[in-house]
């Protein structure tokens, strides 16, 4: 009879082994990940002190200011375009080759390497338009980079609004735009904002696109007076410290890495919380 079982090993045993291996894989992935992030947080946090943050010279203050301005301007540029595109896709577009093409384009934009965005920003904004290395050039470059993210999150938020609300509004004699502005957008706002926060987080951590478009290493006056000023950005600062600056003590480097990671992860966590708390709404 046992010859009937053509498998050498009982499938139940195979299953146990396989599941054990999956656990191992899980540990192999998560442990070093947790270890290294933990180590960084530990080194960073223990190097961090108020003086280091607040010092205008050699401290993190200029980079924090610069990154803040940069990501805010990025969001300012990306939001109207991204939300507009999302409204187009979810409210106006009728399925067809054009929409297919738009989606393909957005997917590809999401996949373009960030350094290529940097090249584009250099060629288009810095050189051709003539903005030079400036806040505006950097923000526009980053805005293009985060655009697919803004569009997809905003579109998802718009799609979550029940069809019934739109029809209810239309049936009351609202025009399409009135419906969108008064019913759809206000209710999709939390989702859209979540997407914007995620985009800000992404923009805050990107280095390659700002390499040639905006970042300076040291400024006398870290607060930009106009959008045509250069700024100091945190990821660039970290990159320069790690690869170019000899005399900077390790503590400063670790602290910068820590602040950058904390900022990016913090924004992501905020976005997640916003999303989960606001998703629990009844329509």
């Amino acid at each position: 009879m046992s010859s009937e079982r053509g498998y050498l090993v009982d499938p139940r045993v195979t299953e146990k082994v396989a599941f054990a291996l999956l656990w191992v894989a899980m540990v192999v992935v998560m442990l070093p990940m947790a270890g290294i992030i933990g180590y960084m947080l530990y080194r960073g946090a223990s190097s961090l002190n108020w003086e280091l943050i607040s010092a205008a010279d050699g401290g993190l203050y200029p980079a924090i200011i610069g990154t803040t301005f940069l990501v805010l301007l990025t969001a300012l540029v990306a939001a109207p375009i991204g939300v507009g595109a999302a409204i187009y896709l979810s409210e106006y577009a009728r399925p067809g080759p054009l929409v297919r093409l738009v989606r393909l384009a957005i997917i590809n934009l999401a996949g373009v390497p960030s350094v290529v965005y940097g090249l584009f920003g250099l060629a288009a904004f810095v050189i051709l338009v003539g903005w030079g290395r400036s806040l505006l050039a950097g923000a526009c470059t980053l805005a293009l980079l985060v655009l697919p993210l803004v569009i997809s999150t905003a579109e998802e938020a718009l799609r979550q609004i029940p069809k019934g609300l739109r029809e209810g509004s239309l049936a009351l004699g609202a025009s399409k735009w009135q419906t969108i502005r008064r019913v759809v957008l206000p209710n999709a706002l939390p989702g859209i904002i979540t997407g914007l926060i995620l985009s800000i987080a992404r923009a805050a951590g990107e280095t390659a696109p700002i390499l040639f478009t905006v970042a300076y290493f040291r400024l006398s006056d870290p607060i930009p007076n106009s959008i045509f000023d250069p700024i100091v950005a945190m990821p660039y600062q970290l990159f320069v410290m790690a690869t170019e600056m000899p005399e900077i003590p390790d503590e400063t480097k670790w602290a910068t890495a820590f602040v950058l990671v904390a900022l990016v992860l913090g924004l992501n966590i905020v976005a997640t919380i916003v999303r989960t708390t606001l998703r629990r709404r009844r329509w």
Binding site: E15, E91, V115, A204, G205, V261, L265
Partner: protein, 300 residues
């Protein structure tokens, strides 16, 4: 009456603007392509495509400049393939684990945790590789003398691409109708048999797409490889190449753009690399998209 007409006109304008931003995606892709092309065309006038793609020497400032991109292409290939070899099995394992095996509380913790890993800036990975991991390996591993080599880039990239692959594969597994899982169990399959024989085949396209997107991410990654792979523009040789410094296309752009004079041959050469990168990732992403779409159709 007038007021209403004014309202209509402003609505008309707004709706046009929305339509424009809708198709802006297409325009942007074309613009990026156009700018890359425009800035690399002078390169093609100077060198033939085969010189560029097959030339084995990249030394832009030597003499008239040598612009053979083969070492860089191979460098990218090495690092990327290495990354995928590490990332795909692990990512699949993690995806299966999260989708089918992890207890609920663990799944609810793991999914966001993995997404958070994806959010860590690449410059931070590079920083860690350069300051901590690389020197540690050079110190402890006999065969490796310099802590900056291709395989280190692969490992770092693997961890960076992992979340992308995991989350798409997990979605693909999750989207397989529950009935398929249940009916396999109802036929007397163990859970593992169900996973390997029913679930994975059913989620196949989604998984392939996830891997392709991971591939796209790995090819395009810049800062990490710039910081940890040593950037020697050698032709990598065999398996040993993984343990030697290497230079990728992305790192070349990031490292050299600062030196070049605008309009110089070197400047155009760097844009040419950018153009190739763009074309490669465009192809990869488009294929992935086609596959995803097909898988959506399959399941529906």
């Amino acid at each position: 009456m007038m007021k209403r007409r004014a309202k209509r006109i402003s609505e008309w304008i707004i709706e046009r603007l929305i339509q424009v931003s809708g198709v802006l995606g297409i325009i942007l892709v074309l613009l990026i392509f156009f700018f890359l092309l425009r800035n690399s065309l002078p390169m093609f006038q100077e060198r033939s495509l085969s010189d560029l793609l097959l030339g084995e020497k990249w030394s832009p400032t030597h003499g008239d400049g040598h612009f053979g991109m083969l070492p860089l292409l191979l460098g990218s290939l090495y690092v990327t393939v290495g990354a995928l070899i590490i990332a795909i099995p692990l990512a699949l394992a993690v995806a299966i684990f999260v989708a089918e095996i992890a207890p609920r509380w663990m799944r609810e913790f793991l999914k966001p945790a993995i997404e958070l890993i994806a959010a860590i800036p690449s410059v931070v990975f590079g920083f860690l590789g350069l300051l901590v991991i690389g020197p540690w390996i050079a110190e402890h591993v006999e065969a490796i003398r310099v802590g900056q080599f291709a395989a280190l880039g692969s490992v770092m990239l693997a961890f960076m691409a992992l979340p992308t692959i995991v989350s798409i594969c997990e979605d693909a597994l999750h989207n397989v109708p529950r009935d398929i899982f249940n009916s396999s169990l109802a036929l007397g399959a163990t859970r593992w048999q169900t996973i390997t024989r029913a679930l994975l085949p059913a989620a196949r396209s989604g998984i392939i797409a996830g891997c392709l997107l991971g591939l796209g991410r790995a090819i395009g990654e810049t800062m990490t490889v710039l910081m940890v792979t040593g950037n020697a523009q050698v032709m990598p040789q065999g398996l040993e190449g993984f343990l030697k410094p290497i230079r990728t296309m992305t790192a070349t752009i990031a490292a050299e753009m600062g030196e070049t004079a605008v309009g110089s041959t070197h400047f155009h050469a760097l844009f040419t690399i950018g153009l190739f990168l763009f074309i490669i990732t465009f192809a990869v992403n488009t294929i992935a998209d086609v596959i995803v779409r097909r898988s959506e159709k399959d399941i529906a």
